[in-house]
Symmetry: C2
Subunit: 596 residues, 2 copies
Amino acid sequence: MAESMKGLHRSHRCTEVTGSNIGEVVTVMGWVQKSRNKGGIIFVDLRDRSGLLQVIFEEGDIGAEGFAKAEKLRSEFVIAVVGKIEARSGAANENLATGSIELRATELRILSEAETPPFPIEEESKTKEELRLKYRYLDLRRPDLQKNLIMRSKVATLTRQFLAEEGFLEIETPMLTKSTPEGARDYLVPSRVHPGNFYALPQSPQIFKQLLMCSGYDRYFQIVKCFRDEDLRADRQPEFTQIDMELSFVDVDDVIGVNERLLQKLFKETIGVKVSLPIQRMTYAEAMDRFGSDKPDIRFGMELKNVSEVVKNCGFSVFTGALEKGGSVRGINAEGQAEMPRKKIDALVEFAKGFGAKGLAYLAVNSDGTYKSSFSKFMTEEELAALVAAMAGKPGDLLLFAADEDDIVFDVLGNLRLEIARNLDLLKKDEYKFLWVTEFPLLEYSKEEGRFTAKHHPFTMPMEEDLDLLDTDPVKVRAKAYDIVLNGTEIGGGSVRIFQNHVQEKMFEVLGFTKEDAYDRFGFLLNAFKYGVPPHAGLAYGLDRLIMLMAKEDSIRDVIAFPKVKDASCLMTEAPNVVEQKQLDELGIGVVSQEC
Amino acid sequence: MAESMKGLHRSHRCTEVTGSNIGEVVTVMGWVQKSRNKGGIIFVDLRDRSGLLQVIFEEGDIGAEGFAKAEKLRSEFVIAVVGKIEARSGAANENLATGSIELRATELRILSEAETPPFPIEEESKTKEELRLKYRYLDLRRPDLQKNLIMRSKVATLTRQFLAEEGFLEIETPMLTKSTPEGARDYLVPSRVHPGNFYALPQSPQIFKQLLMCSGYDRYFQIVKCFRDEDLRADRQPEFTQIDMELSFVDVDDVIGVNERLLQKLFKETIGVKVSLPIQRMTYAEAMDRFGSDKPDIRFGMELKNVSEVVKNCGFSVFTGALEKGGSVRGINAEGQAEMPRKKIDALVEFAKGFGAKGLAYLAVNSDGTYKSSFSKFMTEEELAALVAAMAGKPGDLLLFAADEDDIVFDVLGNLRLEIARNLDLLKKDEYKFLWVTEFPLLEYSKEEGRFTAKHHPFTMPMEEDLDLLDTDPVKVRAKAYDIVLNGTEIGGGSVRIFQNHVQEKMFEVLGFTKEDAYDRFGFLLNAFKYGVPPHAGLAYGLDRLIMLMAKEDSIRDVIAFPKVKDASCLMTEAPNVVEQKQLDELGIGVVSQEC
């Protein structure tokens, strides 16, 4: 049975009805959340996007036929109800926006019946994710997912409104473009008209937005899908969405300024969080030194301390050995954790080894001032006391040390700090701490490729004061690059771009590209630069991650309508799938048989 | 030479400076449009996105060094200028927003030099399109293209603002999805993780938006890229942009209502055109009968007249023969064109043949009331007079007739009508005539496939009063489908969707799908329909075409930043291109060698 809604017109969504409508006749439509017959009265919770409204069916109001129909109602039936709004006869339900009223039905139409769903549609679902993703259209009925997607829509709307007011133009860039192998792996699209040739889906609109600056569009933005064919992690999807922007005739402070105001607006108008401006800034060097990370979570302290000077002459060869090899010894102070059981400390040591540590030295300051330590026997009382003092250790504190090359020490302690905070439940999702990290290194050395690669991308502007180092000590060159970090997650990043041909050519030289290579890959950009290019800079946000943090979710799959799982497949549509041979023939490609 | 802009901050765009700034010191940045030295004074037209500003360099203001720099300026150099705004010393230029003022420079920086562009950057460019597309970044500097893209951005902004106010949520649907071969050819994307499997790029978000309605999102929209791997025409691109929407608990009038208000807003707020509501509606049957087209251009008359009854007993066997075969005889009256030279009439006959006509009968009513006709010898004076009367022919009119199957007659005369209007310059680009075409046929018979195919798509709702015809005479079933037509171009279309399982199954049966076929292709949608589905309907606009008409352009390439040409390639990036073998190996595909 599927009745027509002919002659009916929805007058309100469920929670658009309020106390001020008492006595009015309204028409509502939605899904039966639940239905129960209590002493000859049928109570239905009617659900739509806006929330729930209680509907009451009594034979005296709706007649025998209508009542018989109401008796058939089951969860997820779609119905239209006409009736009069009344003050609720029973106790008001304070959990509901419409908790003080109810709708007394005089007409019912069953627009669509429903089978019993394979899992209950409820907030904080306990159903395992695979099943929910297979039936995503049912999972998407859950109020928490609806709330997330409604917020996402609102963030996009506010972003566009703000950027339009700031003089940005939204300009669409191509999805079918050229493969330029540098960075992540491209998704390819075979061409039917040019067999043997391929488009690539864009990893970002980087080059196009720079061209738009060359063309004088002044301020560009786009909320746009980007694609990377990389193995997935919890916060990665093969297709993801960027808020992408580029500005002409600006420097670092201009980009940071406009984005601080954007973030302030978004957080205030969606989740009511006040972002105080200016947002704190920290150089990359300082972030590494204090937090062992280029995306520090500053919701808590537990900062790294460099104790190399303090221990350089001690008797503990693990420390002195690391220093002799040019490394460092650094520590963190887990305050009040001196009593941490040995088993938990061992787990931390294992955790540290996962980041390349050979071990982890620890020292607990007991409440009586004595020490319990993995290395106390190698050091004098004075040396230990100096070390504890350097770490500002008080009775009850647990000090943890790593000694190795700087890179490893930072990575180990930076992650250890987060692990301890997680264990101690220090990471509050409703606390939002923003940080700009600036002055990133321009280059990093790729052992795999035996050459420098661009840390951000090859168009990033070196800091003027470091330009000369490009010839003498490239690894020391800092870039006009910046990341915006929220609660330890990089939610966006960007840079000022090179706009001088001679600097760009030098950059390619340092990256080990021949001039031919460079033109082969980026020729149209390099050519564009010959005809007058403005100074320009930009930034891109990962929208999925940003919404995930705003919605206080742990996975970006909870803020994407139709996400993919770790093997990049969609459990609902079963994409990717096998296609017809005719389709491949038309494209001039074949599947190469795989020997396993 | 590329100077830094350090210490400078742009205070205005070029035309943000007005008479009220006279006496103020401002900093502007942009491109040199042209530069000329007139008696020791250098005049520069400075260009940015907003327009032009005249800058004056005199040695007395800027010093010898600055003046020497100004002497070097050439077209397309990017410069920053600091100076004071003055009333223009020479005659005001009324063509410029800033025509009554000028900037007297006190500081100049050359931010970027420029080579001479390969073609002049000017409005109404005469350079051939291939060259302009190769250097698209230069072509995009032309003010007319900038105006188009700025309008496009504004239309997108206004659309989003309007739809958000109307309760629509913008929800992103996947780009990497499942190939469902029905309709146009898919672009495929090989999967690295699942070798031999492919994603498809979406031809439209149709199924996803219907799922969102099943999930209770109530009102969805998206401005979204869609993909069809079909051979291109002037108004087609391999990737194109839709304004896509779907609404729950609505019928035809609701969709039409919200879209009329949207169109009214867009045309008023971008190009100042008033759209009177309601927009005229016409059934498909009437549109064919009166205009021989399902997208009639109603900026002019010249309507088709069915004269079958008038000629059915005449002596002209071309007419009577067509009628005997079940066809019709129809004509159009090209008023005042009786004097059209024979050569032009012959050209129209050839044009008609291109649409399947065997010939074209014509009759000119001379000013003295006599006739000049290709068929007068076959008809009596009375028959001719009756025919002329039926066509409301007056002295000076040219009547043109086609006699054939209805399909051919409509196609021939519908197109002939447009051809004559083009020849007579009746199609004014600044006149905007909207029309809803409704009640499209649900099905059309595909001779090629030997079965019915869906005219709109397989989810389109039949009109209730025609449901029974699905069994008896499917071709007569009308659909709840509607197109919005502007000046003879379909700018959007949509339908009410089937929401009852039994109707959907019947539809697949009529389309010749087995139940297995249907589930194989659309299983997740059919399954979703089992769990409670609301009545829903939607519409999608072709944004590129809409902007093309608003911008009064002839090609959608003039409203797309980086368009592709007829062979689906991009002349600027040279996509698609050959990729590295390693990339193909990772995807488990190979290029099949082509024997030509």
